[in-house]
């Protein structure tokens, strides 16, 4: 069989080679009539070749062409020793090779010359070493080279060199179909002890599912028992296992990194140099590390349960019926394109937990609608979390570096999928009750923020109770972290809602696959519960921490989102901040907080106004309670009175103090204490403004700013400092500009 193959390829290749040589002389003549399959399979590379021919035509009568012709025509049995012609021509070819690389035809000619041993084997290694391709390597040449191996006259070292060369240029071979076709022929060389490692590597690169057969597995196992546990055999077998897990079983010791050695040393530097000189037209990498193994060396883990399983295909296959299409194991899929191609017949891996390690697999998971698959993943994930953080019997949390990495991986997965896993949710409900609030805080809070909407009947018990305890017993930084986490949680809930509202026209209950009827009002209840809860936490937190400005900033972040629920997320719900948040923000000593509060109040106004308009337009629109309007008006009036009108203590306002008490405090003009000039947050601006306005004045009289002209300048000055929130608030709430006597504009209910 082997001889027959050889002859066959010899025939085709000779014809083609001759045709190509002719072509170089007559570039306009059409393709040779013998356009066999191999030619058509290389069409993609034709343009490269045409360009190559052009180039060669321009170098008219290049001596290297003559040299090649010499090697093409040289008679078998021509002596080598003392043959100056060979030496001269070979040097010429070598010069071209090491400078520019050899064209595909030149490679074919030289390889054929070397492997056919027309001038004995002494020149072989030298010729092989100079086979530096400039563009591609013709597949036929390689096939012919392999076929010469079967003739059996080539010294073993040269055979090895040849296979090494094939491995080096493997990515540059223009097609692989014929090489795959002679897989069996190549396989027969594994018995040659010296060739075996390299043949295994070559087979590894050529293997596809169809050629994995029991007799080949047997042969490799037999070799293994003879040669011992050789990495090259294992690598090939592991690939066989990927394709046919039922045929081969083994386990790889965790410390061994299973990649093939690089054999490309003789050519590496020359190839790089040539590619660099040619502006690396061929972008192929010559990295020979087998692609299927990730480079990360798995270090031995002490605690088994956090180890993410290896992506493997299923061994116990269901007996496949004829009608069902063949399934492609996920482990065989290497790119998004392949994923899309096989989308509807992908076989899930043996252990769903392995998906966590692969972004490609996660992309598939994102689309998969398989209940069992998700359940398997959740069982594994829940198990890992429970064992690591809840049941940890032996030496808990000493190994937090691993837990940290695991949780980070989980978080990035959830981030990628944009939602949380239900098992991590279930875990959190339990874990919050025993958490000390510091162990892996960022990660736990991150997971927490991915929790989906909880029915308002459960939210208190599952979430609020444990969180409340943690909040009041932890540092200010935990408080900030928790508020941020709840902020993210609310954001995700609102985004889910807005996506859903767009899809299903606001009627959540209509969804047929809803388990527990989460109606719009149910959802609103949950959101309201969450907002109220943060309000409670924030009020007490600010009190406990003495209005810590960092905490206040996180709280204002939260309300910046809450005030826009209607316009931004389409949720017909407006919840005002509690007084415990409003007043500390208004009286804050930093201008940023006051400015942000002003912005929030402005957005509330915009939301409420448009809600009112919509309510008038459509009958079934939601109803905002009078209480909300009342609260909003109160706050706005108070804010305007305080900042603008210098009337801090009006009867019926939110903050009231007895007259005598105020007098006792000996604060002169106490009612002006928190106007825009005297407010501790803005005082420095007022003084700065005063100095700029009246540079000569020695004694500073801030009240003089309140006159009509300087007042408007002062406002302009303040707004120019970037206090846009304040500017918006003033623009929207203060109507007529008449000196100091403006009124707050309130919304009617």
């Amino acid at each position: 069989m082997c001889l027959c193959l050889t002859e066959c390829f010899e025939y085709f290749s000779n014809v083609e080679m001759a045709a190509q040589l002719n072509l170089s002389g007559h570039p306009d003549s059409g393709l040779p009539s013998l356009t066999d399959q191999s030619m058509s399979s290389r069409t993609s590379n034709r343009s490269l070749r045409v360009a190559e021919k052009e180039r060669r035509k321009n170098e008219a009568e290049d001596p290297s062409v003559l040299a090649l012709q010499y090697f093409y025509n040289v008679e078998a049995g021509t002596p080598v020793s003392g043959n100056d012609e060979v030496e001269r021509n070979l040097v010429l070819v070598e010069q071209v090779a090491y400078r520019n690389g050899l064209s595909p035809e030149a490679i074919s000619i030289m390889l054929e010359f070397a492997m056919s041993l027309r001038m004995g084997h002494s020149l072989c290694p030298r010729v092989l070493k100079c086979l530096i391709p400039v563009t591609v390597v013709p597949q036929e040449a390689v096939v012919r080279g392999v076929s010469w191996l079967g003739v059996g006259k080539i010294p073993v070292s040269t055979q090895v060199l040849f296979i090494k060369w094939v491995l080096t240029v493997f990515d540059m071979i223009d097609a692989k179909d014929q090489l795959r076709a002679i897989y069996g022929f190549i396989f027969s060389f594994v018995s040659e002890e010296n060739l075996c490692p390299f043949i295994c590597h070559l087979l590894y690169l050529l293997t596809s599912k169809q050629i994995v057969r029991v007799f080949r597995v047997r042969k490799l196992l037999e070799l293994q028992s003879k040669l011992g546990r050789q990495p090259f055999l294992l690598n090939l077998l592991s690939l066989y296992k990927v394709f046919c897990p039922e045929l081969v079983t083994f386990s790889i010791p965790s410390q061994s990194k299973s990649v093939f050695k690089n054999h490309n040393m003789p050519w590496k530097s020359a190839l790089f140099a040539v590619q660099k000189r040619n502006g690396s037209q061929v972008a192929s990498s010559i990295s020979l590390a087998s692609a299927s193994k990730d480079g990360t060396n798995r270090r031995k883990r002490k605690r088994h349960h956090l180890e993410i399983p290896v992506l493997r295909s299923v061994v116990n296959k269901e007996p496949q019926t004829e009608t069902r299409r063949r399934l492609v194991p996920l482990v065989q899929i290497q790119s998004v394109a392949e994923l899309l191609e096989n989308m509807d017949h992908i076989e899930l891996p043996a252990q769903m937990g392995s998906l966590l390690g692969s972004s490609l697999a996660l992309q598939y998971l994102d689309c998969v609608q398989d209940e069992s698959a998700l359940l398997r993943l959740n069982f594994w994930l829940g198990y890992a979390l429970h064992e690591e953080l809840l049941f940890c019997g032996d030496g808990a949390s000493q190994n937090s570096e691993e837990s940290l990495q695991f949780l980070n991986k989980l978080l990035s997965t959830q981030h990628f999928l944009q939602e949380g896993f239900s098992s991590s949710e279930a875990f959190l409900y339990k874990f919050l009750n025993v958490w000390d609030g510091s162990l892996l805080r960022p990660q736990i809070l991150g997971l927490l923020s991915n929790i989906p909407v909880i029915p308002s009947s459960q939210i208190e018990r599952l979430l609020f109770k444990p969180l409340m305890q943690l909040f009041f017993t932890s540092s200010v930084f935990f408080k900030c972290g928790l508020i941020e986490c709840l902020n993210n949680m609310l954001l995700k809930w609102l985004i889910w809602h807005s996506v859903y509202a767009l899809e299903d026209d606001l009627d959540i209950s209509r969804n047929s696959h809803t388990s527990i009827n989460m109606t719009l009002s149910g959802f609103k209840d949950s959101v309201m519960g969450l907002v109220d809860f943060v309000g409670r936490l924030a009020s007490s937190g600010l009190q406990l921490e003495g209005c810590h400005s960092l905490l206040l900033s996180f709280i204002l972040d939260f309300y910046t989102m809450v005030c826009d629920t209607f316009l931004k997320y389409g949720l017909p719900l407006v919840v005002m901040p509690p007084p415990g948040v409003f007043y500390p923000a208004l009286f804050a000593t930093d201008p940023v907080s006051v400015d942000r509060l002003a912005f929030i109040m402005y957005r509330y106004k915009v939301n409420l106004t448009s809600a009112k308009i919509q309510e008038k337009l459509t009958d079934q629109a939601f109803h905002i309670s009078r209480q909300t309007f009342h609260e909003f008006n109160n706050y706005t009036v108070y804010m305007v009175n305080c900042l603008w009108n210098s009337k801090m203590f009006q009867p019926g306002m939110g903050v009231q103090l007895g007259e005598e008490l105020l007098l006792k405090s000996n604060v002169p003009q106490y009612w002006t204490s928190f106007d825009l000039v005297h407010h501790p947050a803005f005082m420095s601006y007022a003084i700065d403004f005063h100095q700029k306005c009246w540079p000569g004045k020695k004694d500073i009289d801030l009240d003089s700013i309140k006159h009509s002209k300087p007042w408007s300048w002062y406002l302009e000055y303040l707004f120019s400092q970037g206090y846009d929130g304040l500017a918006l608030f003033v623009q929207s709430n203060i109507r007529a500009r008449q000196g100091n006597g403006q009124q707050g504009d309130s919304l009617s209910t």
């Binding site: 047997r218 081969v248 386990s251 349960h305 061994v315 998700l374 890992a384 279930a426 339990k430 989906p452």
Partner: protein, 362 residues
């Protein structure tokens, strides 16, 4: 062929249950799917925390010896088992045991010679694995049939008449598992939450990892909690009139420096008397139903502790119950159990199944 052979094998695929599920929807389905149509990443966990039952039936000695063959029972008793919980097995088939035997033996061979590939079909394997079913050891129709696994090792020098000796055995079981839980699982899953293994030569971890890779399940250690140990004491003592417990032995650890271990042995008759004294009031209230209540167990324990305190001025409540044993069996806090009498095995296994299900992550 194999299918036909095992036609009587019951793999509860609860197809009826699944239909029911799709109508009412189990509590595990996501609320999220109601909020976002696109989100399908799983099930909302049981929002109601499962707890250990507070009342259970008194052990009956009748059934098991009639149903299960003597040979199989002999394999289960008189061995100390290490307990683990197992998450539901994905696509486990009670009809594929032969093929599992082959795969597991190849897997063990491969693990024993790391870095050496093994022929699955090969017969030259040193380990022979056999999977078998323990038919009829169930309490409810939803319980999956117990699977017993034995691994034999061929000695290197084989004599013709010498039988292969088992080097490892273990079994997966589910006795009277929580119906709501079992029925909420899709039909691809078989729930055998309790795994008992008898260790020799590090094979347990190999078997576990084969199960993990083949059925995508997870194994975790199962301890027998303080409460469960007390339950076992009560359940066993309750059997005394029918089958003598000979003595009731407890081992307590007291948190003092240096640690104090107390072995507290009670004469069988005394234990029975104490037990019947706490039972009396309740049996009247419970009527005919021969069930035991957690209150009875607690008062039984109080009685034992009180007695000890009167004699030694040492309150055992401060300590931890580590081990209990009677003639019917022994149990250790670390998760080891031994059945000495097969008659009352089922009750104990029901308790342990319950403990294992409590450990399920979802």
């Amino acid at each position: 062929m194999e299918q036909h052979h095992n036609s009587e094998t019951r793999t509860p695929l609860n197809s009826v249950a699944v239909q029911r599920r799709s109508k009412t929807k189990s509590y595990r389905l996501s609320y999220r799917s109601g909020i976002g149509a696109a989100s399908r990443l799983g099930f909302t966990p049981g929002l109601t925390a499962r707890r250990l039952n507070t009342s259970r039936k008194a052990p009956k000695s009748n059934n098991i010896t009639e149903k299960v063959t003597k040979e199989q029972l002999a394999l289960l008793v008189k061995t100390e088992w290490k307990l683990s919980y197992v998450t539901p097995l994905y696509q486990f088939r009670h009809t594929q045991l032969k093929s599992y035997s082959r795969q597991l033996s190849a897997f063990i061979a491969a693990e024993k010679q790391q870095g050496l590939a093994v022929d699955v079909e090969g017969t030259q394997n040193r380990f022979r694995v056999s999977f078998s079913l323990v038919q009829e050891m169930t309490e409810s129709v939803d319980d999956a049939v117990t699977v017993f696994i034995q691994i034999h090792s061929k000695p290197l020098i084989v004599r013709q008449d010498e039988p292969q000796r088992p080097v490892w055995s273990g079994w997966l079981t589910c006795i009277n598992g929580n119906l709501e839980y079992l029925r909420s699982l899709p039909k691809d899953f078989i729930c055998l939450p309790l795994f008992c293994s008898s260790e020799a030569g590090g094979l347990t971890s190999v078997v576990k990892s084969w199960f993990q890779q083949s059925f995508d399940c997870c194994f975790g250690p199962l301890e027998i909690s303080h409460t469960s140990l007390q339950w076992l004491m009560a359940l066993w003592t309750n059997c005394h009139p029918e089958s003598s417990i000979r003595q009731l032995k407890m081992i307590w650890t007291l948190p003092v420096e240096p640690q104090l271990q107390v072995t507290y042995t009670v004469n069988a008759e005394d234990a029975w008397q104490l037990w019947s004294s706490v039972r009396k009031e309740n049996t009247a209230a419970a009527g005919e139903e021969n069930s035991i209540d957690i209150e009875e167990v607690t008062s039984f324990m109080q009685g034992l502790k009180g007695h000890f305190f009167r004699h030694f001025r040492l309150d055992l409540s401060a300590g931890r119950l580590d081990e209990v044993s009677t003639a019917l069996g022994s149990a250790k806090h670390s998760g080891r159990i031994k059945f000495s009498n097969s008659k009352y095995m089922i009750t104990t296994l029901m308790l342990l199944t319950e403990c294992a299900l409590l450990k399920m992550p979802i």
